[in-house]
Amino acid sequence: MNALLLTAVFGVIMMLSSFLLTSKTAIRGLAVSGMVIVLAANVLEMMGIVFFKIDTKDMIAFDRFSLLFNSIVFISTLVYFLLSARDMEKVGINYGEYFALIFFVLCGVTLSSSFHSLLILFLGIEIISIPLYILTGSDKRNLKSNEASLKYFLLGAFSTGLMLMGIALIYGATGTFSTNGITTSPTSALVIAGMLLLMFSMAFKVSAAPFHFWTPDVYDGAPTVFTSFMATIVKVAAFIAFMRLFNDEFGSLQSRWQLLIALITAITLFIGNITAVFQQSVKRMLAYSSISQAGFMMMAIFAMNADAREGLLLYSAAYCLATIGIFAVLMKLKDYSFDGFNAFAKQQPLLAATTTIFLLSLAGIPLTAGFLSKFWMIKAVAGTGKYLWLVIFAVLMAVVSVYYYFRVIQAMYFKEGDGQTIEASLPFKWTLVLLAGIIVLLGVFPNWIIYWLYF
């Protein structure tokens, strides 16, 4: 509850700041300190100190899982602000408003991670989506950005329509919006149809195949700063909503949806990884890589056991931090193709080293957080004892993914080129080093996150 109210309040403050404060440094400072306050308030709530006690009529339930996830999201956003907030200046003149919209998105994230009513799920998803349509189109003179925002809007609104139809059918079958689980037996056709519609719409939101086709265009067209935000924080938030929905509401029907989710997972892994191999632009490659990582996260939805819950939290932390880091480096470059990274290691040895760690983590090489989170996912699926082909397929696809991540590393270290001159400030470099350190440490001590789930 702390975080929900504070993110909304800081959204309003940032909105006002854009005409009260003239200096961009001041706005940035305000946003970063706001993020720290929100994070602190959320950590306090995890320890049991709640500032605002509001009777939500059992519509929102802040349990340990959602609070821990919120903390991960806020830490990632803080890192994102520290690394990339400076690059938002280049997008347009509405500097304060961008921060306001991001705070509103975070408010939606807290809602969608802790809903206990389908109405709140709908509101949360909408509060996430509407600012994102705007952020996608915020580079107003760039045609690609406008177009991406348009496509994102159309498909987003369509998937919202599907979701609403699903909610309507579930309401017809159960008479309530609370996600207490379907108890009526035998299961009516209404429930099955509603569940399918909700599954499709959530697959749209997390960009799982075959509903992924908007992702590359939208991620490619959006300003790179906001792609970084969309591809990480928003995506894992949609996954948490997906998981909560299918755990709380449809948990009793697991045998009915498991095969379908397994198929979606397999197709997502296949399409994401295979298409990423053929990309020429690193930004587009990262878009496809986000699809393939979504495939791995879908495995948590498939398994839906204790391992899956721990794994999804670990995965969100590992994936968010590594991808934010890569995007932060990518934004400094002018040429987004693979050749743009040629001889990068000679130019900026420190940046190249940290980028290598991020890429290794995404590829799932041992001693990084990415490896452990993938391991957790595979353990979760193996724990269900069914569909073991999915495990083998996932490992195979993880091997394929190594190829396109290593292409960047190869370009940085082993290719000759004139290299681009980029300017990176000292704090930027140190933040990146810190981020790489966190990723390696999480890869060795995953219990730092898991512990908070059970203490």
Partner: protein, 104 residues
Amino acid sequence: MSSVPMSHILFVSTALFFIGMYGLFTRRNMITMLMAIELILNSVNINFVVFNKYLYPDKLDGIFFTIFIITIAAAEAAVAIAIIINLYRSHRSIDVENASEMKW
């Protein structure tokens, strides 16, 4: 209205849903696609009200969801119109595929 079976009015709303979907997939004019989305949302609204009135008449849950959908649809439409105007300003066309550096 109790003399009308519930399934009949649900078929009307289902028909609206699929007309909206058809419009969304076959038209290329942005405004028309937006209108198709409004049709979809309206069919959902009818569903909610019908379920509320026929199956659970002692509570008002369905009607409230409808009110929330209507308000949010208004907000969405405003955002969509802003995006369309911006696209038109820079591109002089609101044909979805005309404005295509990228493939669908």
